[in-house]
Every structure is written in structure tokens, then in C-alpha cells.
Symmetry: D4
Subunit: 251 residues, 8 copies
């Protein structure tokens, strides 16, 4: 039911063409949610200021191209994650302005007018434990940047060599939110969480020997962190961590 339809119904009541009881019956059975639908959608556009994000894994290059064309037509911009080389190549042929980050596996069409995104103030700091965790960390960093946040990176600071981390205490405490990406035993978020008081979002990765069980070891480690207030997202989900950090910086 659109706003127009409700307005028309109320006009009928005002004009005596329908009794209040009859209008009540109509309201009782109408899909008010359509009204809410439009409103919510508008809210999303207003408050987030960033394009829809396409999860490319499990879609064909043709499907992805079709979705991105629709998004570009609507908003002039789009962002895709988990993009393979064929996907990126296909999109670049169609959108010459496309930015492909091979390490992060992201494809991004910046909005034509660069000044559009509302500039954010809080820094999102992305920390990664090992070089194998870089793709996930970079996905988080790129998504956060596309969402309009200033991003800093701190790489290769695993817990087996703590000194590299200890020197960065001030940098960590200065951030509005810290994303910590780690595989294997996933201990880094506990250490970071014990060093700083800012929000810490932990991202387990599927990096590791046999008994990492595809990231399960890191995931459980992070959920059981002895540093209070560390929160966790899904395995290898750099995008989700960036979205969570963005919620914090926008709140």
C-alpha cells in the first residue's frame, strides 16, 4: 500500500464515502509494509552514502556484469568483493574507470563526482598477523575506504614477535575502530584487546596447517578471547569487519 493509497482511503472517509469501520477493515488487511519498504530504502541511501556491495563468489561473470550495470545505472557506482581475474577483466572492458585490487579481490567503480561521499573522521586501523592473511585484511581496508573512512594498515605483527606490535600502541589507541585479521591460533585480537580500549573486531582466516580446520581454530580462539569486549565476524569475512567498523564510526 503506497502513501497515495492511504491518503485516498482517508479522503474517502472524510468525504463520507466509506465509514470509519469500513476503512478500518481495509487497513487491517492491507500491506502497510510497502510504505515502510520505501521509507527504509530511502533511509539506507541517506545514512550510508555508499553503493550496494556485490558478493561475486559463486556468480558467473555474465551475472555479475548484469548486476553491476543495474547498480551503475541507479547510482553511478558499485563495489564487488571476491572478484576473480575473469570477473575483473570483464567489468573493466565495460567500465574503463573500474579499480581492481588484485590482492583484496575487489572491483570498484568510483562515483563520477568524487566529492559525494560524506567524509568520515575516525580512523579504521586494519592489523594483520601474517602475510597470508593479507587478502582478507586488504578486503577489509578497501571496503572501509569505499565506505568513506580513512584507513591505516599495520601488517605482519603476529604474536610470536610481539615487539613489532608493542611499538604501535599509540597508533592503535588513536583509531576509532581496530580490525584484527589473523589465522592459525587467532591470538592477535586478544593481545590487541589487552593493549587498547577502542573497539576491536576480530576476523579469523582460514590460513593454517591441518588442525586449523579451515579457520575453526582461529574462530574459536577469538570467541574465547580473554580480553573483554573483542567481537568476532565470520571466517575470511573482511567485508563484514569493514561493515561493522563502519557502523561504529557512523554511530
Amino acid at each position: 500500500m503506497t502513501v497515495e493509497q492511504i491518503e485516498a482511503l482517508l479522503a474517502e472517509v472524510a468525504g463520507g464515502r466509506i465509514t470509519p469501520q469500513g476503512a478500518l477493515e481495509k487497513l487491517r488487511h492491507l500491506p502497510f509494509e510497502d510504505l515502510q519498504f520505501a521509507r527504509i530504502d530511502h533511509h539506507r541511501a541517506l545514512r550510508q552514502g555508499h553503493p550496494e556491495v556485490v558478493f561475486c563468489e559463486g556468480k558467473t561473470p555474465e551475472q555479475i556484469l548484469a548486476i553491476c550495470e543495474r547498480l551503475e545505472a541507479a547510482s553511478g557506482t558499485f563495489l564487488g568483493t571476491r572478484a576473480t581475474e575473469p570477473v575483473a577483466t570483464g567489468l573493466a572492458a565495460r567500465f574503463p574507470r573500474l579499480v581492481w585490487n588484485r590482492l583484496a579481490r575487489t572491483v570498484h567503480l568510483p562515483p563520477p563526482d568524487k566529492s559525494k561521499p560524506i567524509p568520515r573522521t575516525g580512523i579504521i586501523l586494519v592489523i594483520s598477523a601474517g602475510t597470508s592473511d593479507l587478502p582478507v585484511a586488504e578486503e577489509a581496508a578497501v571496503v572501509a575506504e569505499v565506505f568513506g573512512h580513512p584507513v591505516e594498515r599495520l601488517v605482519d605483527v603476529g604474536v610470536a614477535g610481539l615487539h613489532r606490535l608493542l611499538v604501535a600502541t599509540e597508533q592503535m589507541q588513536r583509531a576509532r575502530a581496530v580490525i584484527v585479521v589473523a589465522g592459525m591460533e587467532g591470538a592477535l585480537p586478544s593481545v590487541v584487546g589487552g593493549m587498547v580500549s577502542v573497539p576491536v573486531i576480530a576476523v579469523p582466516t582460514s590460513v593454517g596447517y591441518g588442525a586449523s580446520f579451515g579457520g575453526l581454530a582461529a574462530l574459536l580462539g577469538m570467541l574465547n578471547s580473554c580480553a573483554p569486549g573483542v567481537t568476532v565476524v565470520n571466517i575470511d569475512n573482511g567485508f563484514g569487519a569493514a561493515a561493522a567498523a563502519s557502523r561504529i564510526c557512523r554511530s
Copy 2:
């Protein structure tokens, strides 16, 4: 190495009783961390404004009493979680001002001077799906309050009856951080995360029939949330969720 020791060493350099090179050698091999320890501790006191928290589960009433007496002597206040009736009774006999929340299983000795906690501004909203999730939700709420945050509660809004949740959209969006506590399939955080743009911290509970496997079903459900940016803490960990929300409100 204490601050006094370093000061003494520097005085020796200033007095020419030791060369700079000799002092460097001493510094190189000394446990600078003691210095850092004191500093970090002080930082904690300054920035958090709340007492240490005692996890009572698995400790005897005697041990808990001893720890709380030490905390009270140092700071005039303490907070304990997972406190059973015998623990609460024992502490109340010793500390007449003790506040025991039976549902949340918390014991709290408020600081003598109530004005001390720095008043926070952002609201932490604690949402729970079912009545069986209330102990965990209440633990989160009490901890957040003790940490100095204004708290609102929204109870019994499980996804099988969405209308109860939909009417609270504005209340949710107004919060600085939302804690969502749910057992069984743990779907509530996804729904909430899709309705608002504020940070959403999901707490799985161990409530459910056989195949909930002690909260594993809810935990996995929340980690796989289709609403981007939902983060997760450990099963039944209301305290951890409050600590995470507090990090957000303080950042």
C-alpha cells in the same frame, strides 16, 4: 625496573658516575616492562572509570571474598559476574551496601561517592529474543550500567513474532550500540541488523532443544548473519557484549 630505578640511573648519568654507553647497556638488559606495567594500569583506571570485574564461576566463596576485599580496599568498589546465591550471601554479610541482581547473577559494590563515574551519553540497547535469554541479557545490561552507560531494554521480541520488533525501530536506531541476545536459531541479530545502521553485537545463548548443541546453532547463525556488520561474542557472554558496547561508546 621501577620508575625510581630509571630515575636513579639517569641521575648517575647526569652526575657523570656512569657513561651514556654504560647506561645504555643497563637499559638494554632491564625489564622496561615494569615501567610500562604501571603506566598501562594507570591508563586503565583513567580511561575506563569502572572497577575490575570478577568472573565468579569456578571459584569458591572464600576465594571470591578475598579478591573482592582486595578490590574494595584499592578502589572502593567491585563487580562480580556469574555469582551464585552462596557467593552473594557471603559478600552481602561482609559488604552491607552490596547490590545483588539474582536474574543477572551479578554482585556489585557501588563506589562510595556515586558522582565518580564519568557520565556517558550514548544509549546501549539490550534486546532479548525470549524469556529464557533474560539472564544473559540482564548480565549485559547490569555490566553496561556499572560501566557508566545509560541502558534500555527490549524483551521477548523473537523473530517468530516480528510485529513486536518492528514497532521499536526508532528506539533501536536511536541507540549508540545494540546488544542482541538470542538462543535457538539466533536469527534476531540478522533482523535487527537489517533494520538499523548502528553497531549490533550478537550474543548467542545456550537455550534450545537438542540440536542447539549448547548454543552452537545460535553462534553459527550469528556468525553467518546476512546483515553486514553484525559482530558476535561467545555463547552466554553477556559481560563480553557489554564490554564491547562500552568500547564503542567510549571510542
Copy 3:
């Protein structure tokens, strides 16, 4: 917002005391869902003809008594599952008409006017594999009866003695829905599903030696049934199976 409130608003429009536009604004910001809540509730009463069901596990006798008193006041009837002896004794002292099924662990206060429930026509057949599965099977049977369905029972027909099952083929095929309760390897639903074409709802139970892992073995067995179209509910969830069968018989 109650129905009365909406009716009053529409009366104001009809009386010209408020313009249609003004009423629209009010409606736009009101919790329409309260309306929906009432409507849905009413629908539930109309279409289901049975009282709310209280899951007693994890609640104190006092809490259960309070909930049941509220339900009795509203509808004159209630049903509780997983009721222990203390719960049943406490309720019986308050409600002399209470029916307690010790095996099924159910407590039921029948509506004062027995003729109220709309009589159903399709039979729900509850089959159990072993004597240890009886509590779950009986929970399913009692709930189905309270929901107004005629129920038949077939007990102790495990797959290790198929002859007992084979003689009941006609009885099974005659049912509108068949609930099959089994622990251990959970093979009975596959056999039943291969014999009849009616809907088969499988309920795994936590009955079994070590490697049943609390019903996991039966659950997985039923999910992997080679008989097409067998569906599964949670471990030991006789209530859920009855609710599913009731949906089928009412559809």
C-alpha cells in the same frame, strides 16, 4: 496502537475534526504493528483453536504458575511441555481440573466448554521405535490431541524387527500425517517413508549409546533419509513434530 485507537482516529476524519493528511501523518508514525499483533493473535485463535504452549524447562515453578494464571485468565485454558513433578504438583494445587501426563511431561488445563475446539478430520499417527522413545512420542501425541486432532499410536516397531511394522501399512497410509520418533540410528522414518505416500515427520531422540552423541546420529540419519520427502525436526522435539503435523492437517 489498538484497534480502538485506529477506529477513533477514523471517526475523527469522518467527523472532519482532522484532515486526511493529518491522519496520514499520524498513521505514518504509529506502531501499526500493534494492530497487526492483535490481528495476528486473533487469527491464531480463529485458525488454531488451541491455547498458547508453555515450554517449562528452565523456568521455576513460580514463573510457570504466573504464566499459566495469565493464560487461564485470557483463554480459560493452557498447555505446558517438559513439566517436572514439582511443576505439575504446583499447578494442580491451583487448577484442580489440570491434566498431567507424567510420561509425556505435559500439563494441560482443558477449556471449560469442551465443545469449543473445532473437530479435525485427518488422523495423526505417532510411531515410536523403542520404549525409550516413548516420552517424546507421547509429547507429540498429547500436543496433537490438545490441538484438536484425532491421534493414533504405534509403538515399539524398530527396524530390527520389521514384521511389526509391515502389518501396519494400511494404518499408516490411512493417516493424514505420520510422526516417526526414533533414537539410535534413526532408520525408522526411512522405512516408513518408503512404505507410504503420506507426509512423514521424523523426530530424532537422544536415546542411545556413546556415539549417538545426544541424538546427533539419529538426526543425521533422518536428514539423509533415502526415502524422498521425509522432513525432520529438532532432537527430542515432540512438540515441534505435533505442530508440523497440525499445520499439515489444517492446510
Copy 4:
């Protein structure tokens, strides 16, 4: 033992060529089940009105072709699921009337005389949460159609955007059975089950990030649904859901 053999034996009794006791001995040791076999098979043909279904995964194109030729010779029709492109191409070369649904991965040879299937009345509604769940949803829809049921589809109505689902309440309630296909946290069946009273069959899919563990997260979520009466089939088993819905519509 065939019907003919039993008839012959009874004729011998009638003719006095064998005593009743002698015939009893023979019956006692004969495979009566062959009789039952034929009867059951005939029943299947009568009551189901659809061809045998071939699960193509793990079979070579040659094996599948051989099976389908035998089925076509016997009944003039067949249905295959999980058919890859080579399988479909091979079958199409042999059966020019073959219908291949690339998305659903089904191959179907319609019966020569289209009017044969007994027309069903109840609608089967197939709901899917995301675009990645479409192959499983489409498998369910195609199988249900081949089994003779009218099918409706509702796509891309994940719980993170509830408004899309809320507008379809009436469509859902009108169906005879609803199949809900969802990956990730698998929360959609709970929401649907709370909105309508018709039978809800949940199908978890293997879609999701790391901790979906191949669909385990969605499976557990659905088994723990807080909406009473939701039943579950195996991961990615669109065929099984269609078979279950068909049992309901035929009961």
C-alpha cells in the same frame, strides 16, 4: 513369488491336488514380498503419477543415458536432478523433446500425452533468501511442477530486508505448502513460520562464508527454529523439499 504362482497354488488347493496344510507350509517359506512388491509398485504408479527421478551426481553420462532410456521405454518420461552440461547435452541428442533447466540443473522428458498427470489443486510456494540460493530453489520448483503441482516463486526476500517478505503475507498464507530455501544463518523459515499457519519446509543451502561449514550453520538454525512446526530437509536438497511438499498436497 508372483501373483500367478500364488493363484496356481490356490488352484491346486481348490482342485484337491494339495492339502491346505501342504499349501500353508509352502506359503510359510515363500517370498510373499514379491507379491507385495508388485502391489506397492502399482500403488506408486497410481498415486504419484510421475516418473522415477534420477540423481545424476556421481554417475557418468553413459550410465545416466542407459538409465533414462530404460525409464523412457517403461513410462515414456523421466526426470533427472543435478545434471551437468555434458549430461544434458548427451540426453538432448538422444531425446529431442528433453527440457533442460540449466539453473535448476534438471533434465526432464515430459510424457508424450501432456494430459496424463492428475492436476493438483494446492499451490506450492517456493521462497528463496538470496540469489545464490536460486539453484536449490529452482530444483524444488521444477520437481514440484513435474510432480503435477502448481508452483509459485518468491525470490530474494532475505531477513535483512524484511519489508520484501511482509508484503507477501497473503500469498504465503494462500499456499498449501511453503518451501523456504536459505543459506548463511538460515533464519528465513523462522520468520515465515511465524507469519503463516501453513506447512513450512526449510531447505538449508551450502551458501556462505567460512563458518557456514558447508551449510551446517543454516541446517542447525532451521532445526532450532523458534517458530513451531517448521520441518527441515538435507542441505541443498531441493528435490527432497519438493517431494515432502508433494506428500502434503496429496494427503
Copy 5:
């Protein structure tokens, strides 16, 4: 349908009171399985020569007493496993001849006429790894003895002290079947299986530190035995191992 009923039907055919075709129709729709039931039951009595076995776990003393009284009335004997002290005490009061094995947790009423069990020839050897595995091993031994088999025992021969096992090679090879009971890593069956060529039945027990996960470690170890031809039963299932060994000795 009983044997008498079939005999009567055949007599009617012989007497010309019913045609063969009419009898065929009746047979086609009758529960022939009742006939088979009786036959199978009789077979069981003939070939096994042992009473029904009652699994006492999860049954009340009253239920067990009722079952045992029915068994005693039918066969003069019974055997129960997993019997607690209250169960044994209650049965002993009713059956003075009852034999209670506290370690094996078995209760046995020997048949009045001791000569009845058909004497078996092959020896069943029960080997246990540690003293904590004795209850399961003794359950296997007692059940095998009640089933009429000569039993030998070899205890405390864990793989960490192989010499104790090596001296028993000849004893092991002489047995008709060997049951190996072990917890922790469950390695003993592999060692035994490599030493002898007789059938080896492995029984994992739930004995062990944390990561035994209730016997899962031993179970997986035994299933992965590098000694070809070792077979496995459920965790702590001494009864099942004895039944398997009895099948071997009777085959």
C-alpha cells in the same frame, strides 16, 4: 493374520467355499507379516538359545521389574545390562536366584534347567587395555557367557607396556573371536589385529582426559586401524561386542 487364520482360509478353498481368486484377494490385503513374525520369533528362540536382553539405562526399577517378570514367565530366564544397584536390589527381592555382577552392571536369571543352553565350542577372548575399561569388558564377558560361549579374559595389557600382550599371542590366536576393549587413544585393537588372524571386535570406551571427547578419540582410532579386518562397535557397548562375537561363533 495368524497361522490358524491362513489354515482356515486354505480349508475354505479346499472345501470350495471360496474360489482361489477370492482367496488370493484376501491374501493380497492381509497382514502376512504376522505369520512371519511368529516364524521369525521361533527361529530366534531356536538358533540363539538365550533370553531377551533388557537395556536398563533410562528405565525405572518398576518398569524393569515388569519387563523381567514377563520374560521370566515366557522363558524362565532373562538378562539385563546397565543395571544400577537399586535395579539389582529390586529384582533380587523378587527373583532369589538372580545373579548380579556389580562390575559388569548385569543382572541375570539363569534358566531353571542349567543344561538347556546349547554348549558352544569356540572361545571368546575379552581383552581390556586398562583397569578403567573393566566394566565394559566385563559386560561383554558376562553377556557372552550367558549366550552360552566359553569366555577367557586378558586384562591390563595397554599398548604402553607391550610385553604383557606379546606373551599372550598363542592364547589370542586360539580364540574363535577376540573382543578388545580400550579407551584413550584406542590403539590396542590395531596391535592385536596385527598379531593374530582371528576376528577382532574393537570396543572404544569413554575413558580418558578432555580430548577423548567421551570416547570419540578411541572410536576414530579403531575405525582407522592399520590392521586390516578390525571391526568396531559403539562406545562403551560391551553388549554389542558380545552379540557380534556370538554371531561369529554361531556362523
Copy 6:
């Protein structure tokens, strides 16, 4: 220490060239196990009458060829399991008499003199539930035949169509040992175990939809069989089942 070395030592004692005490010292520190090694090896040859078996999976064609050449040189025969086409082709080029079973994935070089294997008497019956289980069932059958046992096969008798199984009761009971191969829910061994008293060895296969978890569902189902005395081997381990059946037939 070889037999020759011990014989020489004893000759020295007999000849007085070494005292009994001196010989004792030597024996005390010598590897007696070499003696045992030879003896055991000889026993294996005597009692089993079959060649060593090569598990080809994870070995290169070159490695397999080298091993088989050594085995052929020693015994004139060999058997390999899990042989891919390249492995079989390579071996066939070297050993023209090689027998390759593509379905069972076995390669076998029969001994030059066919009469060598001691003829066995008891039949090993291999039952498989579905066509996808055939490779594992055939591996079991081929291995049993190479080990010298007469083998019968019963295929496609899944529990969803019991009549096919019921007619084979006599054939099953006549066997010395029954191997039952099944995937999905793995219910077939329970049904077979309830029908016959002979030894039943269950082999779970990795065949099935998502929640079969690579055969885990079938494995757990078989371990929890309600038919007493069913034993289980590893997932897809047809070879192990044949070895177990061979132990039974030789005992």
C-alpha cells in the same frame, strides 16, 4: 637376530665355547623380534594364502610399479586397491596377465598356478544399498574373492524399498558373513541385522547430500544400530570389510 644366529649361539653353548650365563647375556640384549618377525611372516603366508595388498591412493604410478614388481618376484602375485586408470595401464603394460576391475578400482595379478589358494567353504555375501555404493561393494567383493572366498552379491536393496530385501532372507542367512554397504542414512545394516543371525559387517560410504558430511551420517547410523551385533569399518573401506569377513571365515 636371525634363526641362524640363534642356532649358532646354541651350538656354541653345546660345544662349551660359551657358558650358559654368557649366552643368556647375549640373548638378553639381542633383538629377538627378528626371530619373531620371520615366524610371523611365515605364519601369514601359511594361514592367509593371499598376496600382500597395496593401497594405491597417494602413490605415484612409478612407486606402485616398483612395489608390485617386488611382490611379484617374491610371491608371483599381488593385489592393489584404489587403482586409477593410469596405474592400471602402467601395470598392465608390465604384467600382461593383470586383471583390472574398473568399478572396484582393483588391480590383481593372479598367481601363476591357479590351484594354490586353499579353497574356502563359507560364502561371503556383499549387499549394497544403492548404485552409487557399488564401487565400495565391488572392492569388498573382489578382495574377498582374491582371498579365496566364494562371494555372492545383492545390489540395490535400500531400505526405502524393503520388499527387494525381504525376498533374500534365505540367501542372507545361508552366508557365513554378510557385508552391507550403504551411504546416506546407513540404515540397511540394522534391517539386515534384524533379519539374520550371521555376522554382519557394515561399511558406510561417503555417498549423500550435504549433511552426510562425507559419510559421517552413515557411520554414526551404523555404530548406533539397534540390531545387536552389527560391527562397522571405516567409511568407503570395502577392503577392510573383506578382510574382516575373511577373518571370520578362516576362524
Copy 7:
């Protein structure tokens, strides 16, 4: 076969009462392992210098008393782990010299002559992360002391407060072996392993919130340690860690 028996046999050879070939035959079939048994046992006494250790869990006080009396008679000393208060009380009544460590749950009867244990030189350092890990850490410490090793303790140095650990670097590096006991995410061994080059033995404990799954999270974390060369023992197995450290110090 005892040493005396072999000596007698050799004497018969020396005396010509048996030929070397005859003696060889006897040796070939005799249980040489008894000889080895005695030797191994003697070795154990010589090299370990400590009493047998009794795992008290799952044994009755009577059984434990009987075992300890036998050990005391043989060696004058014993050590028991996982001893409850009733066990300790019962043993203390019988052995007044008994030392009971309530925290470590150990009971120890020191040898009468204190000087007996060979004094060890290398220090075993036991580090624990939290106060809840103390029982396991103390079990390790007590066992190591009873085995004759000097032990140092470092408590409450969890990774969320690294400064406490960093000051102890020199103490850690000075140890011959370090045992690190931690629950929750089990990250401490990684940090310690990155700081020192001495052997690090990690002990996961079952301490933690829901998703620690009884210590599984800590166990997986430690197995996936990014610090090379960290080894792991079973959950809560302080005894095993001490035994491992003792092997290192004795090697």
C-alpha cells in the same frame, strides 16, 4: 619365561641334555617377553627414580587404597592425581606421612629416605594464564617435583596483560623446559614460544565460556601456534605435561 627358566634351558644345552635345535624350538615358542618385561621394569626403576602414578578419577576410595598399599609395600612411596577429598582423607588415615595438595588434587607418600631421588639440575618452569588454570598448573608442578625436578611457578600472566609476562623473559629462558597452562583462547604458549628458545609444552584447560567447548578452543589454538616448536598435551593434563618435561630434563 623368567630369566631362571632361560638359564636352566641353556644349562641343559651345555649339559647335552637337549640339542641346540631342540632348544631353538623351545625358544621360538616361548614368551620371551617375560624376560623383556622384567628388564623394562628394572630400567624404569633405574632411569625414572619415581613411584608409579595412580590416576584416581573414576576409581572408588577402596580401590585406590588397595593400589596404594601395594605400591607402598613395593617401593615405600606413591603418587596419585585427581584425588578428591574422600580419597585423600581415606589415604591419610592409613598413611600418616601422606602429603595432600588440595589445589593440585594430588596425594603423595614421600619415600622414607628423602635422599633417594637423583637430584635433577634443569629447572621446569610452570606458567599459568589465569587463576582458574591453577589446579592444572599445580598438578604439573607437583608431579614434576615428585619426579625430582626443581620447579618454578609464574602465575596469572594472560596475554591480555602482556607486561606481566615480558618482565619474566630471563626467568623463562633460564629454564630447561617451560610448561604453559591456559584456557579460553589458549594464546599464551604462542607468546611464550616467540620469546624464548627453550622447549615449550602447552596444556589447554577446559576453562572458558560456552564456545570453549570443554577446552577444544584452547587445544586447537595451541596446535596452530604460530611460534615454531610448541608441543601440546591433552586438555587439563597437567600430569602429562610434567611427564613430558621430565623426559626432556632426563634426556
Copy 8:
């Protein structure tokens, strides 16, 4: 803060250009860890005498080449594990002195001056259960050799043929540390641990049939070893075992 910076600061104190209190403030806020970083690194070089180790899995040949060139420039040597043929070929083209062990999957550039590594004295013995475990065992052996330890190998001594192991008792006891590599049920470390008193490091491998679950069975088996003091590393982690053994030999 570099050493130079601290030296300059101390010089300022000595020269009176800054007071001791002012220097203390500066030190309090400076990253002392940079100093510690250098020191730790130097320690590592001194005490370990071996190059950094590159884990090649998951890195491109280009990345590995870049890392190795940097390592070679710094130290004249490097070691890589999990190196595929393309990686090895690429490195060999750049470093003609490269040693590639195809079985162990290692690449090693020996230091130019062979005499550099400090010669170790204790032997590391690497035992493997089956031929499929050889790659992991060889990785352990090669790494230990590169780390400067004398290594012995004992292959194909699985527990199903114990005689092969028993003859090697003396060789095992003579080692400073024993690495035991085994897949399937992982029983070998228990047997070895029961035979010798030296440190035993167990390495589970992912070798095995279905229910080995990628090495989980062997891992759990080793963690539950009944031989006290056996420690465990991650699945297939030969490198970790060598690092652990090296810690022992250097302690």
C-alpha cells in the same frame, strides 16, 4: 626508538642538556620495543644458528623468490617448506647451489661457508609408520638437519607389525629426541612412548580412509596417548616437530 636515539638521549643527560626527570619522561613515552626488537633478533641469530624458514604454501613463485633473495642477501642462506616443483625450479634458476628435496618438499640454500652451523651432539630420530607418511617425516628430518642436528630415520614401522619396531629399542633410547610420524589411528607414538624414556614428539598425518577426517583421528589418538609424556604438534606439521626437537636438543 633506535639504539642510536637512546645513546643520544643519554649523552644529552651526561652533557646536562636535559635533566634526568626530562629524560625519564621521554623514555616513558618512547617505543622501547624497537630496541628490544633488535636485541631479540640478534639473540635469535646467536642461539639458533639457522636461517629464517619460509612456508611456501599459499604464496606465488614470485613472492617466494623475492623473500628468498632478501634472506640470501642478509644471511647467505634460506630454507623453504611446502615447496612445489614450480617454486623449486624457479629458485634453482636463481640460486644454482639450491638443494631441493622433492619428497620432503623443501628447498634449501646452504650457507656459503659450511663450517658455520654450530655442530649439535644429540641425535634426532625420525620414525614413520607407513610409506604415505614419508613426506611429513622427511620434512621433519630435513629441517632438523638444516638446523644443525644429526638425524637418523626409521621407516615403515607401523603398529600392525610390531616386530619391526621392537628391534630398534636401543636406537630409540639412544636418541636425544624422537619424532614419531603416523596417520590413520596414530597409535605409534603410544607404543614408542612406552618403550623409551626420551622425549617423544608425535606428528599426526592426514593419511587415511574417510573417518580419519583429514588427520583428526590420528591427532586425537596422539593427544590421548596412554604413554605419559608424549607431546603433539599440528597435523602434517613436520617442520613444527623438528623445531620442537631442536628446542630440546639446544636446551
